[in-house]
Symmetry: C2
Subunit: 353 residues, 2 copies
């Protein structure tokens, strides 16, 4: 049902459907394996994971599938913040901590060697595919991974970012449209210039790069996958579509929120992490509005809000959680990952015929 | 090459491609007639036109084509502004007037009977298709036009707006994604909630309404038209794609700007008219940034900036003009409207086969 494509061959998969490597525990080994077993590419969202956690997850994935899968990691950033800046954000966050009864105020922390350790595990474990968000790895990392036969996928939100991904040796690139849930992958252009709708982004990117392009942003079903290919992409990456499945490790409140949200209810906010990300509007976002310039840079802001998000989930207070979602929540569904995957494929098949 | 569709039958056209009814002189009778003669639906953008000007334009169109065409008009709004609010905006605009040597400061004006007079000409001239932006006409206007056999097309930027269009008797609805150039058609939801990417908007709208849906926003070529249909639309409306053609009445600076713009260079701004509209970032937008809350409501703001935009075009100062463009300017082309139209159709044809 799919035309032969470089992407299918490159990734050694049957269907050009990639489950996005969402961080924060959404992408359980069961989810990753189910998507890969169904003929797509499951991806472990390892952006925030310690190397030993990645290793455990990979072991579980390998026990559940013999098909190719991917691991997504974040290109690291090391911003600074003065004590004054930190205490100003802590003041902003205090009302939420009070509401949740959080006493300890954690210091913002960055593990400067995390990325290096993640890459070591990825090499050691011979992961078939490694994808990157928030930038492009250094040339030596690229060479190292390629030497191991690992396929590399970058992320771009503009044409120029896609061109850079190609120049730096990525084997394929995800073009992330403004509809996408979760974090913007932007790393070159300013964020304000980098929210290009998927319908605009894909053809403009495919006209300018030679590597396979994977469309992302607002794609939830067979219509979106097929439309992506018509626009010139060789595959589609879906995140929100899999957040609500049984195998997803997303918090129940997060799943429920997506299932009951309208397309008008998501917002791009930097308030949780310091980087703009799309999620369902809630009290936390609203109260933080207008304070954008006071936030710490990613990942410091993320580190400061972590306790709040965690405790909010425990106390069932979704109004303080990061409820990431793309702009197509009306298309969300329950069911197993396999069921969702197969319904996407069979819908795409019907459109083809 | 196109599957039979209700939209093709409704509009009595051969190709499901509608040239958007852009106001401000872009849609010359030659452009409208060329698109209709090529088998699509040309549309006269009559939003700001006096009835006698519409009549003249329609006469010219009818002299150039026997095919169906459309006229687009704006649902009127009658906001108020105090002398103080007006003088505050005039102060904001004074630097631009100084730069251009504009002495006269015009009073903001609204012709309260303009819409009524426009509808009368549309009925009198037996226009085949009438489309609306910024809202839905009253039931009696709908009935009146339908009695004349005129096909009615509404504009929606959210699912709820699309549902309302259907409920109020529109025969089809344009679903305008966030990529679209020019004014947002939003009338129900707040603007901030109504910038849904085309890839997300189309399937969510088509799932919720029964009337034919026409996709708009970022569509410039055969890939976009075909992708729209895959997403569930029965046709596509293209604006920016025709601004740069020979028959377009857009100012030369406007055409040149689109042809040399990247996808990262457009912005949604209310600064020209009081309503958010997407155009190429320039000095006027930048200087007006941060003053959004001081602007007069549409169309009062539009009336105040009119002299500046007009004089800027005369003096070749594109930095003060409204350079409307969607998010796909890299796909823009020169040539006649017929050439552009035919290349869209033949690209769509190649994708089909």
């Amino acid at each position: 049902m799919w035309n032969h494509s470089r992407l299918l061959e490159l990734l050694n998969i049957s269907h050009p459907i990639i489950q996005a490597g969402m961080a924060g525990g959404v992408t359980t080994p069961a989810l990753v394996a189910a998507v890969s077993n169904a003929g797509g590419l499951g991806t472990l969202g390892a952006g925030y994971m310690e190397p030993e956690v990645i290793r455990e997850n990979l072991q579980e994935i390998k026990n559940s599938t013999r098909k190719p899968f991917g691991v997504n990691v974040f290109i690291p950033e090391f911003p600074n913040a003065t004590e004054e800046e930190i205490s100003r954000v802590n003041q902003l966050l205090q009302p939420f901590r009070n509401e949740l009864g959080i006493k300890d105020v954690t210091k913002p922390q960055i593990d400067e060697s995390l990325f290096e350790k993640q890459i070591m595990v990825i090499k050691e474990q011979q992961v078939p595919v490694c994808s990157f968000t928030f930038g492009i790895p250094d040339k030596d990392v690229v060479q190292d991974l390629k030497k191991e036969g690992i396929v590399l996928i970058g992320t771009a939100t503009t044409v120029e970012e896609a061109i850079l991904n190609e120049q730096y040796g990525m084997d394929a690139v995800v073009a992330q449209g403004s509809e996408a849930g979760g974090h913007r992958g932007t790393f070159l252009n300013p964020y304000s210039e980098s929210t290009i709708g998927t319908m605009s982004l894909i053809p403009q990117v495919t006209d300018q790069v030679n590597i396979p392009v994977i469309a992302a942003g607002g794609i939830m079903d067979g219509r979106g996958v097929r439309a992506s290919m018509v626009l010139g992409a060789e595959g589609a990456q879906l995140g929100t579509a899999f957040v609500t499945c049984e195998e997803s490790g997303a918090k129940p409140q997060h799943k429920a929120a997506i299932l009951h949200t309208k397309e008008t209810e998501t917002v791009l906010t930097p308030s949780f992490s310091g980087k703009p990300a799309r999620g369902i509007r809630n009290t936390f976002m609203e109260k933080m509005e207008g304070h954008e310039s006071e936030l710490l840079d990613y990942p410091l802001q993320n580190s400061l809000t972590k306790g709040i998000r965690k405790e909010a989930a425990i106390q069932d207070r979704p109004e303080f959680m990061s409820l990431w979602s793309g702009q197509s929540p009306r298309l969300s569904r329950t069911g197993s990952a396999t069921e969702i995957f197969q319904s996407i494929v069979s819908q795409a098949e019907r459109i083809n015929s």
